[in-house]
Amino acid sequence: MPYTEATLQLLSIDGTLVESDRTAEYRALVDKLSDVQLQNFYREMVVTRRFDIESGNLQRQGQLALWVPSLGQEAAQVGSGFATRNQDTIFPSYREHAVARIRGIDPVAILSLLRGVTNGGWNPNDSKFRLYTLVLATQTLHAVGYAMGTVLDGKSGTGKPDVDEATIVYFGDGASSEGDSNEALVFAQSYQSPIVFFLQNNQYAISVPVSRQSRSPLYLRGEGFGIPSLQIDGNDVLISYAVTKVALDDARAGKGPRFIEAQTYRLGAHTTSDDPTKYREQAEEDLWKERDPISRFEKFLRAKGESDKFFAAVKAEGEDLAANVRARVLALTPPSTDVMFDHVYTDEHPVIAAQKAWLAEYEASYGGSR
């Protein structure tokens, strides 16, 4: 069973708050959230899901090479994303669409990656949301190095709320097996880097269940490296927010790295190239649908008295975004061939210059009609 004794939860599946000594500290943080903040949690989860569905449609209609759904993982992402401060830097894997949106990344930039227009998509120095990384776990080391730099820069543990920075890195249950992610834990712990490892355990690495990656709960991986680690119900946006917030605060305060394993589930396929019926049972998917992050939070908000009007407005916002994204994706034009050459090196390079010139001449010999 993915949920264990250790799993921290604030919001139960039926949308009611659960009391426990172990979560009292987190409950206090959640009680401080304003109605607007709670509305934003809901809005981001719903709108991202709508975007996700539209992107899947675009892929099926041949407008994207691939789509990587985050369906079902919205609470883990939205809670942790909202827990960051603007000065914190986020290192995503490739499925963190909700976190990207929270950081102001244009969803169309993500789709331009999957449409084959670019291998990047946005400037991470503006957003502090680094580029998606497709080679698993490599970003965990980059994130630790970045956090090591924070310390060198004197921007951690000063006690000044506007100065201290933390880094958060997202990775998956599959990626947790790679050497890089284990080395990242070693470095982070050795240098006491201000970093939070946020592991979304969505139970699968393509077809391989998490039991192949680890026979014991994955949060113990962090613990084994000496890093304070927690396991949370990743489909509970409130615990995801609160636990990540405390972990980031600790990191900024110079208390060293933290590790969070969020138990969640990839409700959709791994990517649009994947067929989950080959490796998992419908009953399992049904079980996780009951644990859906959005419906439980909606129940919670309704019980708090949130109006039908609000829910209708969020739904409409999702529809608007979907239509807007669709129109702009269809309008994306292929990049110029210069893109291939222009930033291979930062400084001038004779081979690049020669090959770029050769291609231009070659294309011109076809009258530019190729």
Binding site: G116, N119, L134, L136, Q213, K278, Y279, P335, M340
Partner: protein, 325 residues
């Protein structure tokens, strides 16, 4: 007995036959068991041979190759699958510093019959790291044999020959050729595995390639024929060692050579072929050996793959330049 099969299916049958014939053959890789691999090359094998011989491994390429080396030390013949070309690099240390050098380090006391299968190459419109051609790194490294079949028949036979090899083999499967069907001679005797092969005879220019490029060269030869130019097409099949005799013999006849590859040209397999032919057939050459390669840039976003990858036009442009001397 000849059957029309895709290369993916042909390699699948080759693996099955090798596993039936030798129970020391074990498969290892990500998603290769229950799922049958992302390209379905190992489909059905876990059902037939069980999870002790078809290992859905943890997600760690260095782990896959490193443990394969340990298994080989106990007499197993592991066949590792790397899911895509761009994901072989986490295993690079185990391949370069360990697998390639173990045999010589053991001075004849131990061999390392490990096959590393890697789907490689472009033309599938995929995201970054899914369309690369990393063959030069492996061909450059002593201790490794490097093969790349271009047809279903070669896929079927060469995977079995690779598994029978007592040396490590990097087995590069051109993913653009996984799906087209071709005749497979199931019980026929295969050609020696390191032999290059003339796949179309011609008289004007010799064109050489491997993997998915072979089909492209055959297309180019067809177009050239319409223009009255006769191309002789050679499929390298083996990238290390390269069998030069058929290439030299062809160049002695045509006097001209174009080498084509998807990989970037700098320090590439094509460069090695060009240099060797220049050395060995200098007096027969009527024009400089030309290379047609991917540009010396990272594989670009899919929208630009058609510009990055050599196509029929670029091959024929080189043919024209070769004939222009």
């Amino acid at each position: 007995m000849s059957e029309s099969l895709s290369m993916a299916k042909a390699i699948n049958l080759g693996l099955q036959r090798a596993m039936r014939e030798n129970d020391k053959v074990v498969l290892m890789g990500e998603d290769i068991g229950t799922l049958g691999g992302v390209f379905r090359v190992t489909e059905g094998l876990k059902t037939e041979f069980g999870e002790n011989r078809v290992l859905d491994t943890p997600l760690a390429e260095s782990g896959i190759v490193g443990t394969a080396i340990g298994l080989a030390m106990r007499g197993y013949r592991p066949v590792c699958e790397i899911q895509f070309d761009g994901f072989v690099f986490p295993a690079f240390d185990q391949i370069m510093s360990q697998l390639a050098k173990q045999t010589s380090r053991h001075q004849g006391d131990q061999s390392f019959p490990i096959v590393i299968r890697i789907p490689y190459g472009g033309h599938i419109g995929a995201v970054e790291h899914h369309q690369e051609s990393p063959e030069a790194y492996f061909a450059h490294t002593a201790g490794l044999r490097v093969l790349s079949p271009a047809t279903p028949n070669d896929g079927y036979h060469m995977i079995q020959q690779a598994i029978q090899s007592n040396d490590p083999v990097i087995f590069l499967e051109p993913k653009a050729r996984y799906w087209p069907k071709g005749d497979v001679d199931i019980n026929g005797t295969p050609a020696p595995v390191h032999q290059s092969r003339v796949v179309r005879t011609g008289t004007d220019v010799t064109v050489v390639g491997h993997g998915a490029m072979v089909a492209m060269l055959l297309d180019a030869a067809e177009v050239a024929k319409g223009e009255g130019i006769s191309l002789e097409v050679i499929d390298l099949r083996s990238l290390s060692p390269v069998d030069y005799d058929p290439i030299i013999a062809s160049v002695e006849k045509t006097g001209r050579l174009v080498v084509a590859q998807e990989a970037s040209g700098n320090a590439s397999v094509g460069s090695e072929v060009a240099a060797t032919v220049a050395e060995r057939a200098f007096y027969f050459l009527q024009s400089p050996v030309l290379r047609v390669s991917g540009f010396d840039v990272p594989f670009p976003p899919a929208n630009l793959e058609g510009i990055f990858l050599p196509d029929v036009d670029r091959i024929l442009d080189a043919v024209d330049r070769s004939r222009g001397y």
